[in-house]
């Protein structure tokens, strides 16, 4: 019996994997269709695609004995067929029905592993029947579409599965993503072992000098390194998925939210083809939903308020993805009311925070602070700040950064910069008081050798002139709490930077560049602010990874 259950579980997993994206595409297309109708376009091409997808979902659901999904897909298919025959029916009423139905279908499929409740599906199907009956009188007089409908459906019954099957080329293999995770883990171990061999090699050279054998060994090691690098690249590519997979559900989500709040909001997404590691995609989806919800609920004004401000009644939320110097940058903007700096400032003062009102960037970074964002007063006053610390934490955990820009009356833009992949991080290894740390290369702007008098003390804080600007240089030992006495005679400082923020960190030695395999930190250790994770170095020792983004964000002083 248990065996059967497992087999069924796997089938369900396959079912969800196949049908959920289809249903999401359907939901997305309905929202588009509705839009096109408003613009006076019939959306014929969309309807044709939709029917094929719904048909596949219906067929798969029937095969799995999932009646609610089957009937909902069937009802949606009927609606599409009627629309196909009678374009004039397209409008707000049927649009709302379609969007609601696809939402229901998506929810049902997503939770298919638990026995689905039949009630909502029944209710929806009933509403579709009522709609079809009500509009039938008009239709029968013109073209007898009832008959037409039946015929079309029977034709499609044989034709469409064939085209669907034709889509999946025989050179494509479906692989459980967990297998890719295991492959990555094994690759990570090989990288560590490779680093260990390289370290042994260096020791041998120091001991024996460059003998012929060692020169050969070096050549072999370099070749191995290149091959490993290629393998890493290929595996990373295998894990990439277009970000459109996450964007797909947003139009529907925004539409539902807007309807609930009686607002008109339109979503624009660009850059859906940009690839991201699936692990990053999975973890960025929720924070984006959070920001999007904030934008619709708090950012975009009611149509009346917008009219008074001289804006179009329909607000716009745009989500743009782009590739920028090896990272993926997401910009989420709304054209709503924007944030009021003076109110944030007032709130900060009431919380006893010391803020320089002239530093707008500092003012804005406040909204990501935990105590700040959960304060109810702020969310009602400024209309924002709800749970932004949660979003910021999720982004930081991914090794990303988040920034906010706001223009009162014109809207807010959140900019998220994310690594394309999580697992392997090119890093600079440094040593501070005999402890080794990895600094992600993506945040390293420069390394500078210190001379006497490079770092000055201003108000007991280190300051240095770097590329014409004065930057704060902290002592690595103090920042990381190594316990050693403050040391201003360290030989290097590493300049970390992100956006306009720059900071130096004094270290004793620069060990070198290394691709490190990120291992998350056990929560039992606590939640250090300066560390984002750990890794195993070539000599088998564990090193902590500096959370450069957070060190820059939080203006930690040391």
């Amino acid at each position: 019996m248990a065996g059967d259950d497992n087999a069924f579980g796997e089938l369900i997993e396959d079912y969800i994997a196949e049908c959920l994206p289809l249903a999401e595409q359907v939901g997305d297309a309905f929202v588009q269709l509705e839009r096109r109708w408003r613009e006076g376009d019939g959306g014929d091409d969309l309807l044709a695609q939709l029917k094929g997808r719904l048909h596949t979902v219906k067929g798969n659901s029937a095969m799995m004995g999932l009646a609610p999904m089957q009937t909902v897909a069937h009802a949606l298919e009927d609606l599409c067929a009627v629309l196909d025959a009678e374009r004039a029916l397209g409008g707000d009423e049927v649009g709302s029905l379609l969007v609601r139905g696809s939402g229901l279908l998506i929810d049902l499929i997503r939770t298919a592993a638990k026995a689905p409740k039949p009630k909502p599906a029944e209710q929806f199907v009933k509403r579709v029947r009522i709609f079809l009956d009500r509009t039938r009188s008009k239709r029968t007089t013109s073209k007898r579409p009832g008959l037409l409908l039946e015929r079309r459906r029977s034709e499609r019954g044989t034709a469409e599965p064939a085209t669907e099957a034709g889509d999946s080329s025989s050179s494509v293999v479906r692989v459980d993503f967990r297998r890719l995770d295991v492959m990555l883990e094994v690759l990570g171990e090989s990288l560590i072992e490779q680093a260990a061999v390289a370290e042994q090699y260096r020791m041998l050279v120091r001991k024996l000098g460059p003998t012929n054998e060692l020169v050969d060994l070096d050549r072999g090691l370099v070749a191995l390194q290149k091959t490993m690098k290629r393998l890493e690249g290929i595996l990373m590519e295998t894990r990439l998925l277009p970000i459109a997979g996450v964007f797909g559900r947003f139009p529907r989500l925004v539409r539902e939210l807007a309807e609930a709040k009686q607002k008109q909001v339109h979503v624009v997404t660009t850059g859906g083809e940009i690839p991201l590691d699936k692990a990053v995609l999975d973890r960025i989806s929720e924070p984006l939903v959070h920001l999007l919800t904030n934008a619709v609920v708090h950012g975009i004004e009611s149509p009346e308020e917008r009219a008074r401000a001289g804006k179009p009644a329909e607000g716009t939320v745009s989500l743009r993805a782009s590739s920028e110097s090896g990272r993926v940058v997401l910009r989420l903007s709304d054209d709503g009311r924007g944030l009021d700096d003076s109110r944030i400032l007032a709130k900060a003062e009431s919380l006893g925070l010391e803020v320089q009102s002239s530093d707008t960037e500092q003012v804005r970074s406040l909204i990501f602070l935990p105590g700040f964002s959960t304060a109810e007063q702020v969310s009602s006053l400024a209309g924002r700040g709800l749970g932004l610390d949660v979003v910021a934490n999720a982004v930081h955990e991914l090794g990303g950064t988040i920034a906010m820009e706001s223009r009162p009356g014109q809207g807010v833009t959140f900019t998220l910069s994310l690594p394309v992949t999580l697992a392997i991080l090119r890093s600079l290894i440094v040593e501070v008081d005999h402890e080794r740390y990895a600094v992600p290369i993506s945040h390293v702007a420069a390394t500078v050798r210190t001379e006497p008098d490079t770092v000055h003390q201003v108000n007991q804080k280190g300051v240095a002139l770097w590329r014409g600007n004065l930057i704060h240089v902290s002592d690595g030992g103090a920042l990381l709490g190594t316990g050693a006495a403050a040391n201003t005679s360290r030989r290097f400082y590493v300049v970390i930077s992100m956006g306009s923020r720059t900071r130096g960190i004094l270290v004793d030695r620069l060990i070198g560049h290394q691709d490190i395999v990120v291992k998350s930190l056990d929560p039992a250790v606590g939640r250090p602010e300066v560390i984002s994770g750990t890794t195993i170095l070539g000599d088998g020792r564990v090193a902590c990874i500096l959370d450069a983004g957070r060190i820059l964000d939080q203006r930690m002083s040391a």
Partner: protein
């Protein structure tokens, strides 16, 4: 019932070994009754015991990396065959001084509620099996609200073994 392969097989082997041992000693020590199966370790001069069911393995102390801003009583992290293991400084947790590493120092890898942690001890004495009736509650005077992790004291073969509640001593309920 067919014996399942894999880890469960190892379990049943252990049970079988236990059974054998029980049968072989039955003649000389006719004291069945409930028993406790413990791993004992030393901190300073005292001996402590934790249930063997919670012990995964005992390892020599490798390089332990300090983690900045770590929680109190966390010594650091170490490499356990490619996995990162957090190591708890159980000595400071129990009000003793920070451990000095000696050749007899060990890390006991324990599993509590799906979590795997290491605890740094001065030395591991042995695995013992003792009758539950040798355990008495610790004198009330030695306990306090902050010392709630001692479940009892066993007097056995002229030894005194302090029994610990791992979940409490590792502060896992937070």
């Amino acid at each position: 019932m067919s014996a399942a392969p894999g880890p469960r097989g190892a379990d049943s082997l252990l049970r079988f070994a236990d059974e054998l041992q029980r049968l072989s000693v039955a003649g000389e020590a006719p004291a069945p009754g409930p028993e406790l199966h413990l791993v004992t370790f030393a901190l300073d001069k005292e001996e402590f015991g934790i249930p063997i069911a919670q012990v995964r393995e005992v390892i020599r102390v490798g390089e332990i990396t300090r983690v900045p801003q770590a929680r109190q009583h966390v010594r650091g992290v170490t490499n356990l065959r490619g996995r990162i293991l957090a190591v708890v400084e159980i000595r400071t947790r129990m009000g003793l001084s920070v451990a000095e590493l000696t050749p007899s120092s060990r890390v006991i890898v324990v599993g509590v509620h799906d979590r795997t942690l290491g605890i740094l001890v001065d030395g591991v004495s042995q695995v013992v099996k003792l009758p539950a009736k040798t355990v008495a509650p610790a004198p009330e005077e030695v306990l306090s609200s902050s010392v709630d992790y001692i479940t009892g004291v066993a007097r056995w073969n002229s030894r005194l073994i302090i029994l610990l509640d791992l979940e409490k001593v590792l502060l896992l309920r937070d």
